[in-house]
């Protein structure tokens, strides 16, 4: 069984149809990218996978557990990084890593690994309220990856980061998938980043997946130089 199987996800907010039947599957050790413009439905899809939202129709099965019927089981198998996730301003970086390790019931040694992933040195002993946006994102990524989850769900992991922090974060995500065998689902509207990071991608627009495949396959199919061109051609077709 594949670690992640989403089928026919539909979600409405009031009269607005945000997802109109999103389906995809992700393999083990694979980095799967959801890309699309703002409001396409990326965050809603990831929130459903993270059990924060409940689909109006359809289901997603993560490590054999339904997000509709077994959300507690799903949460034991995932780690979720929300878009623009904030920090507890009065906790130090180390305290935060310990807190996350504690609530996930994992070995305290993973805190050391988290500290190494964050790569923030002495700043880990300072309250996170004093961290820059890049440092906050790094500590959040570290908190997720140190847990070695079976499925890591990362919503816009490098959004708003400068080059140095963005490179660090991308590198740690790739290393996590390669070394731990975990599955990663990542969303972004930065198509160049996704092209670099992901093994396979899905374009999402207007709550529907409009194309899916490996970056090279998609570029070849649409005779494009990069994924941005692929997306532009897809939008023209729509």
């Amino acid at each position: 069984m594949k670690p992640v199987m989403a089928s026919g996800l539909i979600k409405r907010f009031g009269s607005s149809d945000v997802l109109r039947g999103v389906s995809f599957e992700v393999e083990r050790s694979e980095i799967f990218g959801l890309i699309g413009p703002n409001g396409a439905g990326k965050t809603t899809t990831l929130r459903i996978l993270a059990t924060i939202l409940r689909p109006d129709a359809g289901d997603a099965v993560i490590m054999g557990h339904s997000v509709r019927d077994e959300p507690d089981e799903v949460r034991r198998n995932i780690a979720y990084l929300p878009e623009d996730a904030g920090v507890y301003r009065h906790l130090t970086g180390l305290e935060f890593l310990s807190f996350i390790a504690g609530v996930h019931g994992v070995d305290r040694r993973c805190v050391e690994e988290g500290a190494e992933i964050a790569g923030l040195g002495e700043a880990l002993r300072k309250p996170m309220g004093s961290y820059s946006k890049g440092m906050r994102r790094r500590i959040m990524i570290a908190a997720i990856l140190m847990l070695r989850p079976r499925v890591a769900i990362l919503d816009e992991p490098t959004s708003g980061l400068d080059v140095i922090h963005a490179v660090h974060v991308r590198e740690r995500i790739r290393r996590f998938a390669r070394e731990s065998g975990g599955t990663v689902i990542v969303s972004s509207h930065n198509m160049l980043e996704i092209e670099y990071l992901c093994d396979r991608i899905a374009f999402i627009n207007g709550g529907r997946i409009i194309a899916e495949g490996r970056p090279e396959e998609l570029k070849s199919e649409y005779r494009a130089e990069n994924l941005e061109e692929v997306f532009a051609k897809l939008m023209e077709a729509v």
């Binding site: 949460r75 780690a79 990084l81």
Partner: protein, 438 residues
Amino acid sequence: MLRILLRKEVKELLMERSILFGAIIIPLIIFPLMGALTGLGMSAAMERAEAGLAIGIADLDRTSLTSIELPRLLEEKGLRLIRVECSLEEECVEAAAKQDLGVMMIIPSGFTRNFTSGVHSRITTVYSIRSAAISEISMSQRFSLILLESFKSLAERVHGGGVDPRFFEKPISESSVVLYLGRVLRAPVSAVAATFLTTLFGLPLVAVMVASYASTVSATSIALEKESKTLELLLTIPARRITILLSKLLGTFVIVLLSTISFLVGFGIYGLMIAGSMMAQISVEEIAAEPQVSLTLLDLWPSPAFLPILVSSIFIAMVMMTCIGLLIGVLGSDVRSAQQLVGAVTFPLIMPPFFILIFTPIESLPMGVKIGLLLDPFTHLFLAIHGGFAGDIASAITSIMVMLGFAVMLLLLSSWLFMGERLITTRITLARRRASEA
């Protein structure tokens, strides 16, 4: 420059409907409403008390002045007199308690001799206070004034203008005995009133502060998670939502407990300072003339059941307010709007019963107002405190049970809201509704 900036500030703040609603409109509605209801209740209570006010008169002097002229004067003032037969002051006090007289006057032996000689005379008054509401205490003080006026008239009739003018100003001094919850307190009724006020106002004020703080803390706790965008992370940890909710509730309780301790210490110091200055005042004005014992809150402290009633009612109020705060935290989009919503929601719930019940017993209120107040869960907080203080344990326990029912309902509502995705998708400001973003 200042004018331009000021105009911008005022417009910006007033356009925030939560400020307009919570800080300007609500007080404009609530305070006049409370004033009208309190006035209505107080006048109803006073009218009822005055109409049926039976004044006992125990005449130990037995002269024509005390048995004919004085009673006639008092009846002219609209008082209904009941003669009490007794021969010693203690016996008369017991008789007043047995006959359940609201007020009784004891005229001591030798009164007429002093009075007709233009010598300042002393009478004893016995006040029986049944409920701890300002309207009842006011009645006692009002009677004290009527009595003084009556004796002034009597002095004028007896002496014309032939004695020291200072005698006319205060022909008698009043030594009062207060009967309260089966206890006999020898203290000026004004001192008892002041101590009552401290209790009536102070204890519910503590309850109000604790409860209000609980709602603010819990609303902030959720809204802060939303505002600092840590809520989603928290909701995906492998813990049941009920565990997260429980941690929020308990966290709030800890903070509120610390705040309560701090508040009580501060309030206690304030109370001691006020009591100290009050006693000093009494000793100068009254104790010098009347050798009465000092009066403290402990003298008025009711049955041992009062403390558990007080603590449990405040605790349940805190639970209710914590739940209301959680609900508001879930609905609020950020800390500021949540805190403003807390004020807008809790102020109309707490303040009307707080003020109205200080002035007037609930029984004296018109039926519609009474029902309206009883539907407010926080009315029962004050009823429990007043009931416990007055020794009416059964009604205090009933009030606590009603509060418990409200608290359970609010807890269920909070957990229902906390369990679903509303925690993420519902965002209300008083200014606008926003759909969740995609």
